[in-house]
Amino acid sequence: MLEKALKGSPIYWGWLIVLLGFIGTGFLVYLYQFQEGLRITGMSRDVSWGFYIGQFTYLVGVAASGVMVVLPYYLHDYKAFGRVTILGEFLAVGAITMCLLFIMVDMGNLPRVLTVILYPNPTSILFWDMIVLNVYLFLNIIIGWNVLSSERKGIHYPAWVTPLIYLSIPWAFSIHTVTAFLYAGLPGRHYWLTAIMAARFLSSAFCSGPAILILLCLIVRKVTRFDPGKEQIRTLSSIVAYAMILNVFFFLLEMFTAFYSQIPGHMHPIVYLFSGLEGHGKLVPWMWTAACFAILALLLLIVPASRRNEKTLVLACISVFISTWIDKGFGLVIGGFIPNPFEKVFEYWPTLPEVVISLGVWAMGFFVLTVLYKMAVSVKEEVAA
Amino acid sequence: MYDRGKIVTGIVIGLLLFLFPVFYNLGRAAKEPDPVLTDKAKQAKECIEPKAFMKTEHMKMLDEWRQEVVRDDLRTYKSTSGKMYTKSLQNTCMDCHSNKSKFCDQCHNYMAVAPYCWDCHIAPKENG
């Protein structure tokens, strides 16, 4: 079926070439980082994880969100989603690809990374994260590919795919829970040391992922002859609405615990993020932007008229993306490290090489996504004909 | 065959890339390794194990040493001749073989082997 991705319009090829440009540039800058070491990033002794790990965390959420289309269709027989499950699964593949790449570019000693397999440590959450992410990647590739090629041949997918589909549903929840456990079990980082971390992760995943999926579906409708469907997009928008409500609610719960208890360890990271600490406040405008876009998103999503209107829905999805991306891809990681274990503030900001490498990874993810989507959409167009 | 032009062109380009190291180095034989022992090494008459063993096994032995020293805190080696040595590349091996460029590097360069040990382990200072 991959041959479907080798035929396309000039716009398709142009888009792929632009992405290749970003990938190539990112790769060259990565070679520079490989040579010089991670000192060329903005990370420091105090903020030892930064943009790369933030992006990784955000994208694991996007990957997990594939379950939001798979679950209703396979477990609850919501037939309408049959048109879009493949898009959700391939979005997961693209997102996991980016996750793995972000981990790789963040490694201090990448050639040794396979020692995790040679000398595993079962008490390390990173070990389990590696396992669940890779298995999820394979699950989505195998399921998506087989279901799609069966659809193309006009037959039901083989019986052995069914247990894999059922496995992928709890597995999607597990990948983001395990990623949350990376943060939620570290005793010295008060911003992360909360039982609600996994719940927050899942709720923000289930609004940001489907929001991206909606935007992708609308793009697919515009540039191809395949229409994911009005009802499908409507249901997805309801999912985004409920998940975003939960997401904001959970955040407000964190606020309450921190500020009602008045415990400094709980308050300080949030104060740093939203108001600045000891004169340092690089992230303050960003966090308030995220808050404003979250409120805008909620308004547009809760009011039925604006949720059903696809133009305002686009604005709502973009708002969800911006808000969750800042909160999870940026604020979460940095807030955990500031203030540092000595209650001092040492700020972090990504450097240009860091951003270029990150753009290269995003481009790689979009490249994989574009190729897979082209393939899936072409098959669906062929079947419809 | 279908697409003969494209396939043959592809094969030719592939072969050119694959055989590039051969073309690039044609006519230039690398200098044969000529490891030289220091006076101290010559006086010792034998390395911690016989020369033949060291030639083939020193890589494995160093790998085992670094496991045992760092992870198991077992820092003494009893050679087959019964003598005791401290397991240390930097302080035992290089103590005798302090002319790294005239000894270790001779074979390593010839075989295009670049062990990353020296990123951390300090190579002995050589004169000139």
Binding site: L38, G108, N109, N121, L126, P187, G336, P341 | L74
Partner: protein, 267 residues
């Protein structure tokens, strides 16, 4: 004319490759192991639970500076020159920053003014060891939380896990640290440096203990004021460290986290 189709061919090739690789590995596993001939050195300092007690009343700025210098000199820890990339195995902090859970606006003057000497606590229950995906850092049987520089992949999860900020990362090649700040680098040719991309921290001078010597900082401090720092085995009831801890009140950093730090500050 192929009797099988492309799919079958690929299946057979894949299976053969797997068996081929698997076979070689199985052969190596089943091969007989080699007998080890390793004997412990008689002069080694042995212990079950190494700990350190710092006498805050005896440690002044000069002694603390000498400790830091002794450590960083012995272990080739360079001065990078900026706090973003700095490497420090032992360093000074004020009271508020050393014991953030014990803030006290009306603290006694002598503690408000001075510094404390901080280092890795070699915890009894270390979160960093739980976090490391490759066991590049692990707790030895003698209690030392050790670093294996050969195995560290530079993921920095241990740095996130450590509640004490005891770990440093080599953001660049430490040998490329500014020469002006490190004129005699490497300061100790018997100890390796590290490479870029690995985490490092205090190791209670494991190499010195193996030679029967006390940690460099302890030696440096006690040279100036005897018993300013006491290093010993917490598992032995009548060791020097246990004796001094029985008689003096001591505090530890963040004990409420359950890490069981083994560095005691006798105030």
């Amino acid at each position: 004319m192929m009797a099988m189709d492309r799919r079958q061919f690929l299946k057979i090739t894949g299976l053969s490759a797997l068996l081929g690789l698997g076979g070689k590995t199985a052969f190596e596993w089943l091969a007989p192991g080699e007998a080890e001939a390793a004997i412990q050195q008689a002069t080694k300092l042995a212990g079950k639970k190494w700990g350190m007690a710092l006498d805050v009343t005896l440690l002044d700025e000069e002694i603390m500076s000498k400790c830091i210098q002794a450590c960083h000199t012995y272990y080739n820890v360079p001065n990078i020159g900026n706090s973003k990339e700095e490497l420090k195995w032992i360093w000074k902090e004020t009271y508020d920053h050393s014991f953030p859970g014990q803030e006290n606006e009306y603290l006694a003057d002598k503690f408000k003014a001075g510094n404390f000497l901080l280092l890795c606590n070699h915890c009894t229950n270390p979160p960093c060891c739980r976090a490391c995906p490759t066991k590049a850092t692990w707790k030895r049987e003698d209690g030392i939380v050790m670093m294996d520089m050969h195995r560290c992949i530079g993921c920095r999860f241990c740095m996130a896990a450590c509640p004490y900020g005891a770990r440093s990362f080599n953001w660049g090649d430490p040998r490329l640290a500014p020469k002006a700040l490190n004129p005699n680098f490497p300061t100790n040719s018997e100890i390796p440096t590290r490479s870029k991309g690995v985490v490092e921290k205090c190791q209670f001078c494991a190499e010195r203990l193996a030679k029967g010597q006390r940690p460099a900082c302890v030696e440096a401090a006690n040279k100036i004021k005897p018993n300013a720092m006491v290093f010993g085995d917490l598992d032995v009831p009548d060791s020097d460290i246990r004796k001094v801890l029985r008689t003096r009140y001591s505090i530890r950093r963040k004990p409420e986290l359950g890490t069981g730090p083994n560095v005691f500050y006798m105030i």
